[in-house]
Symmetry: C2
Subunit: 484 residues, 2 copies
Amino acid sequence: MNETKREQHYTENVQDHLKQVESLLQKHALLETIVHRQELARDDRHPLLDTLVHKQHLAGLQRLLDGMHPADIAYILEALPIEQRLLVWGMVRPELDGDILIEVSDAVRDSLISSMSRDELREATEQLDTDEIADLAPDLPRHVIRDVFKSLPIGEREQLRAAMSYSEDSVGALMDFNMVHVREDVTLEVVSRYLRRFDELPDHTDQVFVVDRDDRFKGVLPINLIVVNEPEVIVGSIMLTDIIQLHPDDKADQAAQAFERYDLVSAPVVDEDGKLFGRVTVNVVLDFIREESETDLLNQAGLREEEDIFASVWKSAKNRWMWLALNLCTAFFASRVIGNFEGTIEKFVALATLMPIVAGIAGNSANQTTTIIIRSLALSQITHENARRLLIKELAIGLLNGLVWGGVAGLFAYFLYHSIPLGIVMTSAMLLNLMVGATVGMAIPLVMQRLGRDPAIGSSVMITAITDSGGFFIFLGLATIFLI
Amino acid sequence: MNETKREQHYTENVQDHLKQVESLLQKHALLETIVHRQELARDDRHPLLDTLVHKQHLAGLQRLLDGMHPADIAYILEALPIEQRLLVWGMVRPELDGDILIEVSDAVRDSLISSMSRDELREATEQLDTDEIADLAPDLPRHVIRDVFKSLPIGEREQLRAAMSYSEDSVGALMDFNMVHVREDVTLEVVSRYLRRFDELPDHTDQVFVVDRDDRFKGVLPINLIVVNEPEVIVGSIMLTDIIQLHPDDKADQAAQAFERYDLVSAPVVDEDGKLFGRVTVNVVLDFIREESETDLLNQAGLREEEDIFASVWKSAKNRWMWLALNLCTAFFASRVIGNFEGTIEKFVALATLMPIVAGIAGNSANQTTTIIIRSLALSQITHENARRLLIKELAIGLLNGLVWGGVAGLFAYFLYHSIPLGIVMTSAMLLNLMVGATVGMAIPLVMQRLGRDPAIGSSVMITAITDSGGFFIFLGLATIFLI
């Protein structure tokens, strides 16, 4: 990644840039329309002038883009509608193409890649490190991967093959191969001489790795220790050995937790033979954490994947359909539960008015429970030991909420319909449904975790389904028994 | 922060540690019970033996704790119920107290601090850097802060005062003061000699800052450049000047985005006079991003703050009440909307059965829209230019969903009740309510943003309130006009 171009006053600047790009594009579009109209009208009065102004806008845009960091161009591409995005993408210096494709979101990447020719894609990809090529690979046409693979030296082919073989949520997928290694029996003087042969060290080199003759990992030598120690000190005498070693098959989110907990900048990845294999750096972990948390938020709303905000209506709708279809099914089911009590409702129409309250509050409360449980599961805070204790606590909260809010709802019902039995039925139904909510709100994420599934995905649909149907059943059932 | 003790095989190890701690505590508790029973029964047969075994468990626990990283102890404290947590907390070496208080979540920190004496708190706090004291300050009793403040040297008092003056979401709150600075007219040789005077450099020192005689910020000198260049090179000739400068009043999340975008490890904080004031490091940014994303998830479920999973029922319930109360109010309102159509429902009870479907699906769909919009707002992707375009897109998706899922629901209604008008009313109501959902799902976060409020908090309550009441009103209203 090109690191040298950084904007002086970062965020304001990027947003200013976006506004400038938009205004240039707008002027450009306006001119296009005028030129087009002129062509239609065969009115050739000032075509030259217009073309000049027109070119000026595009030249201004070009200048703006040439001065920008790839990450900033990526941001601007994401914020532009598709036609304008492709216009700007065509003006980007080709040597930045690879870096920008790595930076943009998956959804936007698709739109950019589909506008590129096979040769352009190959050239863009060849500029990247092997670990970055592996990240891009799932989105590239297969023949491009094949071309790129052939063009790599043998060693890098092996790296690419290795990097592509790890699943997306493993340390292997976060790893890069840009590590500097030294032997433990040399002096810092020798290490310094060796490092001076580099024009610059790889990004995020806060430490060099110490390996033996067989590439087996022995420890790390922080760059800071090279700087604060005398040149004649031997590496082995100051290197750190009691440090975190990652394995390529470790879970990525556990590695991320290690980075957070121990404030790491980089960590060695060691294979099963104890050989140094690669490294993970904090910038990749940062991106991973951000993506994870965004995926959580998207999944909670039932969006299957990140959406390009300018994707076509059809594409966006497909991204959201699964969830709506699922919800429609559970709504049909809940509706049938009510259907079974139509006789009761006919006799006491107030029930229809009050039943959504019973269902809704329990759903909200259950989702609170689930959120707490999912968070604790993610932090591995829930053990066999304390799960029972937590269930009792959640049930107690449900009981308390049932008495308080069920009581309020019961009074609401009584004041509206002047029926004490109705008020009592209302309160009891709220109380029972809140207990149901606490139980499923706790049980569903735990069971999903036990089954090896992500508890953050789909828990809330199931919970709402149960608290809705359960709420209608409990409320209308109690009413049928005690009011009719 | 003590960085040297890191666990060899991190996560498994920490979870193993938790299990070991739990099992030792369990044995301990069992013994306590036995000893207690023996005392009650005045049966003094083996008290000595028991006490020895008892002590053995606690000694084992002590050994385990002594070997652990403060962040790991923090994790274990968070996963233990309150009595056991305080037992373990009492056994932690006092010199780690400060670091651990910084690491634990706010909710757990309260429980630890309230178990400590004034002197213990003062000693724990005095071990910390000024920026860390500032982080802890809001949770400490005021007299402890006063004691600590008095014990600091003048320079650090100023730093503490400054650090405490910035709001939680500003760069000032993320900043620390552990920066190393040099002049631009010296050679790398001189810089190296200067750095060798440190025993170790502050954590995350990937660069030293270059300042002039008046402390004005001139540029940065990456440590890696010191290492790869010859000693006689002058700092000014290789320092980087075109780099990000943060200001203490900048928004923290914009600084976090700069760290992500430009893959930073540290960045200088410069005051309005251009003087170097502090620095922000990536580990703090990582914690900030994690906390932000957790807060988002918690807020979406209406939890006011992070919950200590072992907090009392009363405390947890209070954390969740605001939301439930708010939801109850909107549910009461929706219920009154239905109440106005009781006459219609009495005549056509199928309406009561079908109405939750109309409300529910539009609510789900609107929340999908809001999630996309909130995410784009967070990334500053929404401009005046493209907002209208997005609204049209969301309305189009609503229309499409209305035709598809409204059609399905209409057929469902028709097959159940064999009434074509009912089916048409159902489909029309779904279609209209999905359009209402798309509009409010888009408008509410935008308006909240415009009003300077966080669009992630409370949007979903308002949206559900509108799609529920709106759905009931539209469906029952259409039914009253066309079916009765």
